[in-house]
Structures are given as structure tokens and as C-alpha cells.
């Protein structure tokens, strides 16, 4: 019972991070119909910016944890959005209107480029920071097992909830949200109505990158260890989350992320950590067999 509660906490935390990254995949797919394989590496870059930020703040003598967190978050979001914009401008925009495969290959190239750039400039070694948020709350003890909620886990869940709220508002209520949704439906028609499609797509990439940046900062706070390779595994998992939830659907991405986080946590604790990924991907296959467009995805209807 205590173990289940602990794993629920761990799973939700992990799932929140997957979900944040998955939104970037799903949004880009929704608007231009391509998988942005460099997205996992954007997340990795943001984790490095976070490490740099924390080290810088420590050097400047900023000792207040909340202030430090807010500053690093702003810094990471700002820089990572620029990365998101640049990647779109350099690697995808010139290929718009060509075959579907061209931007896909370009995305894989971008992913390799970002990984190697970080490896060469930052070194291949693991970059650690001393724990930022230490401690936690001991919730309850059953049979000698203490369920513990670390402050960093609390932070991740709260920040994710707040972001999701803000994001839903942005997409459903603002004029940018409307432009974005109309680009999703029909780019030509949107352009005819006087909306700058390129700008909307650029902003979408920046938004996705900003969410990945938040995930990067959270992971840096939570695990404290970053290397240039983390984007790969996280990217694959987040992509899976996006597909499971229904690619193109925002709540779907979050739901998929949480599901995968929970499946991993419970499988690792009760069955075997060894077959954790097998379980995750088996459930993905099963879900897609019965709901080919994902849990919350709507099938594309071809209008004749």
C-alpha cells in the first residue's frame, strides 16, 4: 500500500515531465504534420542552460531558492525558445512544401547536430549540480516504509499543472490560439484570411521549445545530473506519450505522458524494472490496435 502510494507520486512526477515534452511533439505535428525529432534535443539543451544558470547564480551569490528557480526558468525559456525558432527557420522552413520525408530527415540531422554541438562545447562528461531543492515531506509510514514526497516532485507537479492551465487558455481563448488552430485545419485558407502562417508556425515551435525548457529545468532540479545524451531517451518516451494520447491532441499528450509515467513506475516496483520499457510499448501497441488515432485523437476524415 505504502509502496503503491510512493510509486503513484514517482509516476506522476515522471509523467508530468514526459507530458511537457510530448506537447511539443504534438503541437508541431498538429500544425505542419511532421515529427520534430530534434525536440528531445531541444529539451537537452535547456537542461544545459539550466545547469549553467544555476552555476552562474551560485557564483553571483544568489542563495534564495525560489528566486534562483524563477530566474533560471526565465533564462532557460528565453534561450530555448530562440533555439526552437532557429531550428524551425534553418531546418524546416526551407523544406516546407517539399515531400513529407524531407523535413523528417532534416529533423534527424538537426537532432544529431544539437547532440554533437553540446558534446563538443560542453564535453562528453556528465554535468552535475549540487542539489537545489533538498528534503521532502514524510507523508505516512506503513509497516516501516515511509512514503516521501520530495519538494522537487511537488514543484514539478505544480509547475506542470499551472502551465497546462495557462496553455489551455492560450490555445482556446486568445487570438494567437485561434490563428494556431486555423493553421492546423487549413493553411491555405488561413493565409487567404490574412494571417501570417510562417509567423504562427514559428511561434508554435517557440512555444513547444519553451515547454521543453521548463521540463529541462525541472529535470535538472530533480535528478541533478545532465549529459548531452538525455534528449534521446526522453524524446522517444515523450513521442510515445504523444502517440498514445493521440498525436495532434494537447490534452492527449499530457494524458499519454502521465500514463507512461505511471505504467513505468508501477511496473518497475511490482513486476520487474527489467521489462519496464517492454510493458510501456506493449500497452502502446494495444492502445493503437483498438484506437488507431490514440486515446484522445480524432481520426482524420477525408472530405470528398
Amino acid at each position: 500500500m505504502a509502496l503503491a502510494l510512493q510509486q503513484l507520486i514517482n509516476g506522476l512526477t515522471l509523467g508530468a515531465v514526459y507530458g511537457l515534452i510530448a506537447i511539443g511533439y504534438t503541437m508541431v505535428y498538429g500544425i505542419i504534420g511532421m515529427i520534430n525529432f530534434a525536440h528531445g534535443d531541444i529539451y537537452m539543451v535547456s537542461a544545459f542552460i539550466a545547469i549553467t544558470g544555476f552555476t552562474l547564480l551560485a557564483a553571483l551569490g544568489v542563495s534564495s531558492v525560489p528566486l534562483g528557480l524563477v530566474l533560471v526558468l526565465l533564462l532557460a525559456v528565453a534561450f530555448t525558445s530562440v533555439y526552437g525558432w532557429t531550428v524551425e527557420r534553418v531546418a524546416y522552413r526551407p523544406l516546407r512544401g517539399s515531400t513529407r520525408l524531407a523535413p523528417l530527415i532534416s529533423a534527424i540531422g538537426m537532432s544529431i547536430f544539437l547532440q554533437n554541438m553540446v558534446q563538443l562545447t560542453q564535453g562528453a562528461r556528465v554535468k552535475p549540480i549540487p542539489p537545489v531543492l533538498v528534503g521532502g515531506i514524510d507523508l505516512l509510514t506503513i509497516d516501516g516504509f515511509t512514503v516521501r514526497l520530495a519538494y522537487s516532485q511537488l514543484l514539478i507537479v505544480f509547475v506542470t499543472l499551472a502551465l497546462m492551465g495557462g496553455f489551455t487558455w492560450l490555445i482556446t481563448r486568445t487570438s494567437f490560439g485561434r490563428q494556431q488552430r486555423s493553421c492546423e485545419q487549413d493553411r491555405t485558407m488561413t493565409a487567404l484570411l490574412g494571417i501570417d502562417v510562417d509567423r504562427t508556425i514559428s511561434l508554435t515551435f517557440m512555444l513547444g521549445a519553451a515547454l521543453a525548457a521548463v521540463a529541462g529545468v525541472m529535470v535538472t532540479v530533480y535528478y541533478g545530473v545532465v549529459d548531452f545524451f538525455i534528449g534521446f531517451v526522453a524524446g522517444i518516451k515523450a513521442f510515445t506519450a504523444a502517440v498514445l494520447g493521440g498525436i495532434g491532441s494537447l490534452p492527449g499528450a499530457m494524458l499519454g505522458g502521465l500514463l507512461i509515467g505511471l505504467i513505468e513506475a508501477f511496473w518497475a516496483a511490482y513486476l520487474s524494472a527489467e521489462y519496464k520499457d517492454v510493458a510501456t510499448f506493449s500497452i502502446l501497441i494495444l492502445a493503437l490496435m483498438f484506437r488507431p488515432s490514440g486515446l484522445l485523437g480524432r481520426p482524420e476524415v477525408e472530405k470528398v
Binding site: 514517482n10 542539489p131 516504509f145 545524451f229 519496464k276
Partner: protein, 364 residues
């Protein structure tokens, strides 16, 4: 006009002559990129200095050594393609690969092309397949596992011990041997698990260890995962002692795990830095701002091994080199190397070490 053509002719001839007296190519291969790139870096630094030193002393058989570097990123498929590239370059000697899972497939390629190799990979299978071209300058996992298993049984009586591996050829091999050694002494591991290397979240494993009341974790795998497990155990309020293998020599463990690294014990070959005969080389490395930790001295020793064997054999041909290595004994910075019929070296195997304040030393 005629003299000019003659001169040109001589020029061509001398060009041809220099290329006929080409350098001897020696190679290293390992994870120069990828998540274990820091080990590749150690190998490269060790081999570079060794080649420079050997060349400064006049080279091997009057020829200079030239170092080729192959990057397998610890990927078995890439290792095979690196091996083929090296074979095409006609190298005389290979030091590598590093990951057992790379060494095993790559060694088939070198064996077919008749190239001798010296490796630090510790999986028993490396020398158990009857290949004649492979020489191991480090101990084997089965020796390592016995030392670690016995230490755990002797020093952690009555405590619950879990054995976990990372599913790699190296990690699983080591963990199996530790478990076997413990069982031979009548102690059954309280938990046997595997994890996936390269992930960041091991909270599932940590919760499981915590609920099973585990105090000691014997881990077959690499330092990156140990650092993460230790940090997450601390966050979950679990005090854990870890027993690992030779990969824990990497000082990255200390940067990543912080003070938690003091809870790490590991088995490793006797520290080559403590070898009095190697003092001059150690100083040279430190002067060049390279700490000769982990695999640095082994890479240096591998190059020495080749140089001495080639001098003894008076040849760099496969047959002569292989015979010289099999029969001779060689003074290197890691001690006197000589090999048995399988290609395993006869140096004393492993010691138990402990990290303390960023340094490791024999455990007291």
C-alpha cells in the same frame, strides 16, 4: 632540361622510398563519443603519451608509431564497422575495444584479418572463444565477481543485499558472478533486478529496494547509473552502500553523486599509480595535466606491450607478434605482463577500493 627530368625522377624515387618506409600503425578503439565517452578519453590520453614516448626513444624496429583512433560509442554494430576500417588501414596492433559487447564482435574481424589486440574488457567470453589474437591486460569479471561477493559476505553479515545489473554484457556478467560467489558462501541475494542503462529515473528501483529493506546494493554496470541511483536513494531517504566493478574508478561518479560517492565500494585491479616502477610516467601525465586514473595507464601499458613484443619478435607480422606475446613477459607501467593459453594475463586480479572525499584507495 635533361637534368631537370632526372631531378624530378629522383624526387619521385625518394617519395616512393619514404612511403615504403611508412610508420607502423597502431590503433585504439572505444567510446570516444556517446555516454561512456569519458572512458574513451582516458584511453586516448594514455595511448597518445605512450606513442609519443616510444617515438621519442626511437620508435619500434627503427620505425615510428602512428596512432589511429576508432570510435565505437560502445555500440556493437559500430564496433564491427570500426574494426573493418582499421583492418583496411592495415594496423599492426589494436588496443580495444572498451565495452565487452563491442570487443566480442569486433575481435572476430581482427582475428580474421590476423591482427593482435590487447583489451581491457572484462567479460569472460572475450577470451573464452578460442581466438588466438586477443590478449587481456585486465582481470576477468568472474575473478572480479568472486572478490566482490566474498567481500560482501565477510563484511555485511546479516544485512540484506540486492544484486542489480544494467543488462549490458559487462554489467550482467559481473552481477551474475557476484550473485554466484555469494550463493557459494550460503548467502542468497535478497533481490535480483535489472535496469535499463541510459535512463534518468530509477525511483522505481529505489522504492523497491526501500520496501525490501535493502542496505547493500551490488551493482553490475557503469558509474553514471550508480550516481543517479545514489542521488535518488538519498531523496527517498534510503541509506545505501554500493558495491560495483572497475567502471566505478571514473571520477565522474564523484562529481555526479557528490558526497554520496563515499558509499561506493568497488573492485579494481591494483592501482597502477601505486606501482613504484611507473612513478616517472605518472609524473609525466600529471605534468601534462592528465590524472592517470582508470584506463589511462592501461592504454599506456598496451602500447608498451606492443612495442616490446615487436622488438622481441623483430617483426610486426601477426604470427611473430602472437608468438612473442604468448611466450614472453613484458615490463609495463601496470606491472609484468605475461599471458596464458587463452590470452588472460597472470597479474593478481582485483582489490576492493572505496571512494573517500573524491579519492579512491584500498579499503581499510
Amino acid at each position: 632540361m635533361k637534368t631537370r627530368i632526372l631531378a624530378a625522377g629522383f624526387g619521385l624515387l625518394s617519395l616512393a622510398a619514404t612511403s615504403a618506409w611508412a610508420d607502423i600503425l597502431v590503433a585504439i578503439a572505444g567510446p570516444m563519443t556517446g555516454q561512456y565517452a569519458s572512458a574513451g578519453d582516458q584511453i586516448r590520453k594514455g595511448a597518445e603519451l605512450a606513442v609519443a614516448d616510444i617515438n621519442a626513444k626511437g620508435g619500434v624496429l627503427g620505425q615510428k608509431l602512428k596512432l589511429e583512433i576508432g570510435d565505437d560509442a560502445c555500440d556493437p554494430k559500430q564496433a564491427v564497422s570500426v574494426a573493418n576500417t582499421m583492418v583496411n588501414k592495415k594496423i599492426a596492433f589494436m588496443h580495444g575495444h572498451w565495452c565487452s559487447s563491442s570487443t566480442i564482435p569486433a575481435s572476430e574481424v581482427y582475428n580474421e584479418a590476423q591482427i593482435v589486440m590487447a583489451t581491457v574488457s572484462t567479460n569472460p567470453q572475450v577470451t573464452e572463444r578460442g581466438l588466438k589474437n586477443i590478449f587481456r591486460i585486465m582481470g576477468r569479471d568472474d575473478q572480479q565477481g568472486v572478490v566482490a561477493g566474498n567481500y560482501l559476505v565477510d563484511h555485511f553479515k546479516g544485512k540484506k543485499i540486492a544484486v542489480v545489473d544494467d543488462k549490458s554484457a559487462y554489467g550482467k556478467g559481473l552481477a551474475d558472478e557476484i550473485a554466484k560467489a555469494m550463493e557459494a558462501r550460503g548467502v542468497k541475494p535478497a533481490l535480483r533486478e535489472s535496469i535499463t542503462a541510459g535512463e534518468k529515473d530509477y525511483s522505481g528501483l529505489v522504492s523497491k529496494l526501500k520496501s525490501a529493506g535493502i542496505e547493500v546494493l551490488a551493482f553490475g554496470g557503469y558509474h553514471t547509473e550508480v550516481a543517479l541511483i545514489l542521488r535518488q536513494a538519498q531523496q527517498a531517504g534510503l541509506k545505501l552502500t554500493v558495491m560495483g566493478g572497475d567502471t566505478m574508478t571514473n571520477s565522474e561518479l564523484v562529481t555526479a553523486a557528490g558526497p554520496m560517492a563515499d558509499n561506493v565500494l568497488f573492485t579494481f585491479a591494483p592501482d597502477p599509480r601505486k606501482n613504484p616502477a611507473a612513478a616517472a610516467v605518472v609524473k609525466k601525465f600529471r605534468d601534462a595535466k592528465v590524472e592517470p586514473e582508470g584506463y589511462v595507464m592501461y592504454a599506456y601499458a598496451a602500447m608498451q606491450l606492443f612495442a616490446e613484443a615487436a622488438q622481441k619478435a623483430k617483426s610486426t607480422k601477426y604470427k611473430d607478434l602472437e608468438k612473442a606475446l604468448r611466450e614472453g613477459s613484458f615490463d609495463t607501467v601496470i606491472g609484468k605482463l605475461s599471458f596464458d593459453a587463452k590470452g588472460d594475463n597472470k597479474l593478481p586480479g582485483f582489490m576492493v577500493y572505496q571512494w573517500k572525499g573524491g579519492q579512491y584507495d584500498y579499503v581499510k
